[in-house]
Point group: none
Chain length 195, copies 4
DNA sequence: ATATAACCGAGACGGTACGTCCCGTCTTAGC
DNA sequence: GCTAAGACGGGACGTACCGTCTCGGTTATAT
């Protein structure tokens, strides 16, 4: 993420970096995204404000760095041989990520910010855990020519309904990953299923 | 938004209300959601700050009131006899709304805010132009028992992919409403189409 | 010092103004001029920082307003019939002001700042307790045509040696106001004394 | 300022020292005393901040070292046989120093700082170009027993009026060194003049 | 008619985060 | 052991907006 540095000079404190990332993680859970301030992060991390501004530009950038790794882990499901089982497992992971996890809360906040902040939108475009994980899950379940749609559209078809359901504030109990999987496979896997 | 006032006294100034709603509409286009402030709205509208706080609680509430009517209009497509044509027309309207219109920009901003602000989430739950318009379009295209899914799931299936595509910052040129319509009808209209 | 205000709006809080002036007076004694900060003044006075900036521009301006009245009082000696006695009394007051008093400490700090801050210099030029008080004392002791020098030069002659002595950090015990008075009167009062 | 270093090791860089003194001289003229910062000096001199702190304690100390030599030179007037001429020449040099020269500007800034910074006051007490030069000029003009006053008082009498006039921001055109000289000699040289 | 009550604008209030700057210290690598 | 480079925690700067609080004035209705 960060190069060592030019030549001379004191090296960047890895301790400070870790403290910041931990602090922002804690604070976003405790207070919610909008109540997290750079001042608050600095104080919680025991770090000067200048140090924050030296290495990050915005709250969003810090939060993204703090949650990206967790996000990828949570969305990386172990492979199943049965395509439907694999897709359903992925959808369950996706639902859990978006509704229950700290990293998912951070992701939703960042995606919200991206709707009215071009810089955040750009950040997310370069680090898109949902799109990437969905593509991986589909590739695993319906490899190669078994996919009747281009991958981007396929990911939107898979992820979109869940994504809309949750972001628009609907209750999550009604989400049935098996049903969603069936629907998806019927559309996206037409070739292999012989539709 | 608020109507009654005890008994006597000066009535609410409709002129002030209209000036505020216009001002917030202009400002959110000019500056973007996050740069709009209550102070700025008051100054632009030629209204005192106290008046804002008297009738609205938050920036989000004003913006919702200012954009809700436009949103409903833009998402209300004229009926077509052919189900597929009707759905496709709705999807085109949805895409235009989310990507191009002022009301859609406001909606995206509010939905973003709702991800980390429970009050805004509550507001949106009581005024959900996407869900309602999608339900209306589906009802028109696949009325009564021709729908193989419960309506909420059907709306998510119809709206979700577009919604995810746009909110996650993908280029909109690749969106093909006819293809999306086909997919939707094949899934949601299984009964009428005989699958 | 400050007009009421345009027309509408909440009037300026006299309580806040007084609290600021007291706070700055206290702080400059407790901490010394350079350790007084606008932040510190605001906190001590229980006033917001914005309120300070609304009514004053700089630390110097606040301090001047806080100490000007005291300065004038301390340098306004009761009249004596004997010219030499009056001048000597004035010199004693001047020495006490410059070395011992809070207002004098503030004055010295401001005059120091004026040496490298044109804005402070301008402030002091419009509010010059030393020059004015010295002129008054001379006028009282050697009225009208009994003064052999133009008044500005006479004030410099009277005040200058004491001023230099103290500002350049010499011990004040060696200052003899009677001797200085004699010297001054021999020069400035040549006409009346018949030289 | 500091010379010795244990035994071995790299010796102090004379080049760095000179660069610092030049830099501070330039900067105090360009920006004024209060806008000069140690950071700025280091950057201008191409020297690390640590090096500054190693050899000097404060901005004032650097500035004093940078300007002391110039100050002494500017206040050291060539001798005249006539006492009045010598004193007048000294006063002209003093006026030029305090109002026009870079070293004089530095001196005024330091003296201002000394009014509220005991450390700077101590520095100046150990390096008092005004007092010393004035004493030298008086000694040259009124040597030995021709002086009716103790030397410290005599210097205050000579320097004080000019000093007050300039530091209190009065226009310098009105200063007449010949008149000031006459007054001084009438008082301080009473014995020789036979008053 | 005239009180009463709720509205209106203007704008000051205490509070707090912003992003920047400099402080004095510390930690590197290089000569 | 000095040097340049530059990151560190700390803290004040001046600005902006928050939500609240007076002000003086302006309408309507209810007496």
């Amino acid at each position: 993420m960060v190069e060592p540095h030019g030549k001379g000079g004191r090296p960047r404190s890895e301790q400070a970096r870790a403290a910041v990332l931990h602090a922002v993680d804690d604070l976003v859970v405790e207070l919610g995204y909008s109540a997290v301030t750079l001042k608050g992060i600095a104080e919680r991390a025991g770090v000067s404000r200048q140090t924050l501004y030296r290495w990050w530009s915005t709250k969003a950038e810090i939060l993204l760095e703090a949650s990206a790794i967790d996000a990828r882990q949570e969305l990386d499901v172990p492979p199943h041989d049965d395509p439907a089982t694999h897709i359903a497992a992925y959808l369950d992971a996706l639902i859990a990520f978006l509704t229950g996890s700290a990293a998912g809360t951070a992701y939703r906040a960042l995606l919200g910010e991206a709707q009215h902040d071009a810089a955040v939108a750009e950040l997310l475009r370069n680090s898109d855990p949902l799109g990437e994980s969905a593509a991986a899950a589909i590739e695993r379940a319906l490899p190669g020519d078994a996919l009747a749609l281009p991958m981007p559209q396929a990911t939107a078809l898979l992820v979109g309904p869940v994504f809309f359901w949750i972001l628009s504030g609907r209750a999550t109990e009604a989400l049935d990953s098996n049903q969603l999987t069936d629907e998806f496979i019927r559309l996206a896997g037409v070739i292999s299923s012989g539709s």
